[in-house]
């Protein structure tokens, strides 16, 4: 009976059949589009007597770049090395960019709920102005109208003989890069984890055991004082010195190109993050606010302890795309002379005549950066979700 029934269905009405056919069709379409493009590419390259390949990465780059986190010598190093230097410069923008944009965005977003009229309106005006102006224009503004207008090196600002500010950039004290520094950073991280555990334990025994928690508090003070001492004395802070006029050694140097790019990206992205924060906070039920207030919490505590943690759940997925946008927008660096990966790649393909290969490298690089951001944000998302027990 059953077999009879199966046979009675014609093939074209069998859903399983169509599923397979459509999948096969999709694969065929994708493969043929890719092979068509590939064919086009190889034919065109052949016509110009060129071959697809990545051998050029090992040839001497021979162009100087303005700043690099790794030693780079144009006389000796190859294209692969200069691309790596560019990538590090990009990451150097993305990480502080994301952190600062988040801080500024949350501040502005929370301010839009403030009872203070000036704060509330200020946040509104900021968001509306920034969101309505293209980022490239804003970068030009920061670079041309703000940072290049800093005083010339001759009339630069100097504070405490160790912080210099001019239109070359900001020079400030910074820990010297040694193994010693790394060891102390590890110590600080371990200390922070220990402090966190002590804090949790203290809360637990205070709530469950009704103890005072004083001894634990002293332990926390101890950790904090030790940490401050380490940061001040053990990290090996180095003030920038100037052996020859204009030539600086040691310390941290933030070029005005870097500063303009980070400022522009942070201010721009923060406007979007502020809106995400506002949406997240508005998504928290009104009853939560009222309940928190009726417990007698102050407005600041209502936000910090009750509303914001709940808003966070709604905020993380859209935040992810803003972080990805920031990472991608960092490629506008080239407009204001900062040497990020895109800028370096641009010069590389121009000098080596390998646009297709270099563009592939760039695309894969940005893809990987964004996948990494997404992975981190997915972990955060999972942690912040409601735990169903």
């Amino acid at each position: 009976m059953t077999t009879n029934q199966e046979h009675s269905i014609p093939l074209w009405r069998d859903e399983r059949f169509w599923r397979i056919v459509l999948q096969v069709l999709a694969v065929v379409v994708v493969v043929s589009v890719i092979s068509l493009l590939w064919h086009n590419l190889t034919v065109n390259l052949n016509r110009q007597g060129m071959e697809f390949g990545f051998d050029f990465l090992d040839t001497q780059a021979s162009f100087a770049i303005q700043e690099s986190l790794i030693p780079y010598d144009p006389a000796k190093d190859n294209y692969a090395r200069v691309l790596l230097a560019g990538l590090l410069n990009t990451i150097r923008v993305i990480i502080p960019g994301i952190v600062l944009a988040t801080l500024l965005g949350i501040t502005v977003g929370v301010a839009s709920f403030s009872e203070n009229w000036l704060l509330r309106k200020g946040s509104e005006v900021y968001v509306e102005i920034i969101r309505n102006i293209p980022l490239l224009l804003q970068l030009y503004f920061w670079y041309r109208a703000v940072f290049t207008q800093f005083p010339n090196p001759d009339s630069r600002f100097v504070w405490f003989d160790s912080i210099y500010l001019s239109n070359r950039g900001v020079f400030m004290p910074w820990p010297a890069m040694t193994w010693n520094l790394l060891a102390w950073v590890v110590v600080i991280v371990v200390g922070a984890i220990a402090a966190l555990l002590v804090w949790k334990w203290r809360t637990k025994i205070m709530v469950e055991g009704g103890q005072s928690g004083k001894p634990q508090m002293y332990a926390l003070y101890g950790i904090a004082i030790a940490a401050v001492l380490i940061v001040i004395f053990a990290l090996g802070w180095q003030a920038p010195t100037e052996p020859d006029p204009g030539v600086f050694q040691g310390g941290l140097r933030l070029s005005i190109e870097f500063s303009a790019l980070v400022t522009g990206l942070v201010v721009y992205t923060a406007a979007y993050i502020a809106e995400i924060v506002r949406a997240g906070i508005q998504s928290v039920a009104k009853g939560q606010w009222e309940a928190a207030r009726s417990l007698g919490l102050k407005p600041g505590l209502v936000m910090r302890l009750v509303v914001f943690p709940q808003a966070l759940r709604v905020m993380i997925p859209p935040l992810n795309s803003q972080y990805m946008n920031l990472a991608k927008n960092s490629s506008l660096a080239i407009a204001i002379g900062y040497v990020d990966i895109y800028s370096v790649a641009n010069t590389t393909y121009n000098q080596s005549g390998r646009p297709v290969e270099v563009m592939l490298i760039i695309m894969v690089t940005y893809l990987i950066i964004n996948i990494l951001i997404t992975i981190v944000m997915n972990v955060l998302n999972r942690v912040s979700q409601l735990k169903e027990r």
Partner: protein
């Protein structure tokens, strides 16, 4: 079933433009590998068919290629485009200009977006081989210079220790600068600030971000006239490199390359033969066999290039010879009043020399 049906339609709609786009790309922008098509589909045929020449220029360098307020192009590079258009299409105005910055120019050329570059491009072995270009004869012999403020503080490259230099990305100057700083022993102490486009680079220099701006000398002279106070800036007395600038075409299209090459030589030869815009009619009646051949009054020099035999007569009549082009844009009749120097005929001690037209 309805769901699958709509999915199929969606996929088809999505894919159709991609495939049609890709297949349409092959005949127009490029040649397919199929037998026979390569030989007939030279850029020359495409230009004739289209009726206009698409010429890649800079568009921002007075004297070389510059757009004025009414949108008209002028300059020595522009006149080379006009000469090629006159030779191929009989009309010097049948040119469509594309402004290209230094990093996009080669991709635009090899991608088929422009037919030729006439965009102060330096002839180097690497570009000729690795990048896959063909260089037509040099139309301007230049050298790399350095523009600095006229306060006398910076006189040699060694003085640049602790200073910054602005440069345009993707240029030979970017590479030469690195080499020259190395030679001067100050490569670690000079900050090189690279911009993708010329305008932001010169703006950064003007605003004091850099103490020096480096590029080809001719370009610096042209650009200086667009700075806020041109007299506050001088060229440092240093030449960092050889910069032979000329038109460029794509590799492996010798038919088209020959046309651009011989039209460029023709401009030089015309000056040597004394053929000018003003006296072309007299010259056409000349008895001199060299001149008669050159102007297509006898012989069939144009035929081999796939052009009319009198192509150089049309070019000179409309655009003038090299000397006239130079005087008009850079020399005595221009605001720059540049000496011919190396860019004079070999007979007068310069470097311009055309192989014989016969």
């Amino acid at each position: 079933m309805l769901k699958w049906g709509s999915l199929l339609t969606a996929t088809a709609l999505l894919v159709a433009p991609i495939t049609s786009c890709a297949s349409a790309d092959s005949p127009s922008g490029s040649t397919d590998g199929e037998a026979g098509t390569v030989a007939t589909n030279s850029r020359l045929d495409q230009v004739k068919e289209r009726g206009t020449l698409i010429c890649g220029v800079d568009g921002g360098i007075p004297g070389f290629s510059f757009v004025n307020e009414s949108g008209e192009y002028s300059g020595i590079d522009v006149d080379v485009c006009r000469a090629v258009a006159a030779a191929v299409l009989g009309d010097p105005e049948a040119v469509e200009y594309r402004n290209l910055d230094s990093t996009e120019r080669f991709t635009a050329l090899s991608g088929g977006e422009v037919d030729m570059l006439s965009r102060n491009t330096t002839w180097t072995i690497n570009r000729d081989t690795e990048v896959g270009l063909e260089f037509a004869p040099t139309t301007f012999y230049d050298g790399q210079g350095m523009l600095v403020r006229a306060d006398g503080e910076l006189e040699t490259l060694e003085d640049f220790a602790g200073k910054a230099v602005c440069v345009e990305a993707g240029t030979t100057t970017e590479l030469n600068l690195t080499d020259n700083l190395r030679e001067a022993g100050v490569e670690d102490q000079v900050e090189v600030v690279t911009f993708q486009q010329a305008d932001p680079a010169y703006a950064a220099y003007a605003e004091g971000r850099c103490e020096g701006m480096t590029s080809d000398k001719s370009q610096l002279i042209g650009r200086r006239s667009t700075l806020p106070n041109p007299d506050d800036h001088v060229l440092m007395d240093v030449t960092m490199s050889k910069e032979p600038l000329g038109p460029v075409t794509i590799n492996n299209d010798s038919e088209w390359f020959d046309v651009v090459k011989w039209v460029t030589y023709g401009l030089i030869e015309a000056e040597e033969l004394g053929i000018e815009q003003g006296n072309i009619a007299e010259q056409q009646a000349s008895e001199d066999p060299t001149i008669r051949r050159f102007l297509g009054e006898e012989g069939n020099l144009g035929e081999g290039l796939g052009l009319d035999n009198n192509f150089m007569a049309i070019v000179v009549e409309n655009v003038g010879n090299y000397g006239e082009i130079y005087d008009r844009n850079l020399g005595a009749d221009s605001e720059f009043n540049l000496d011919r120097g190396q860019n004079d005929l070999w007979t007068r001690g310069g470097l311009l020399y055309s192989p014989p037209f016969r």
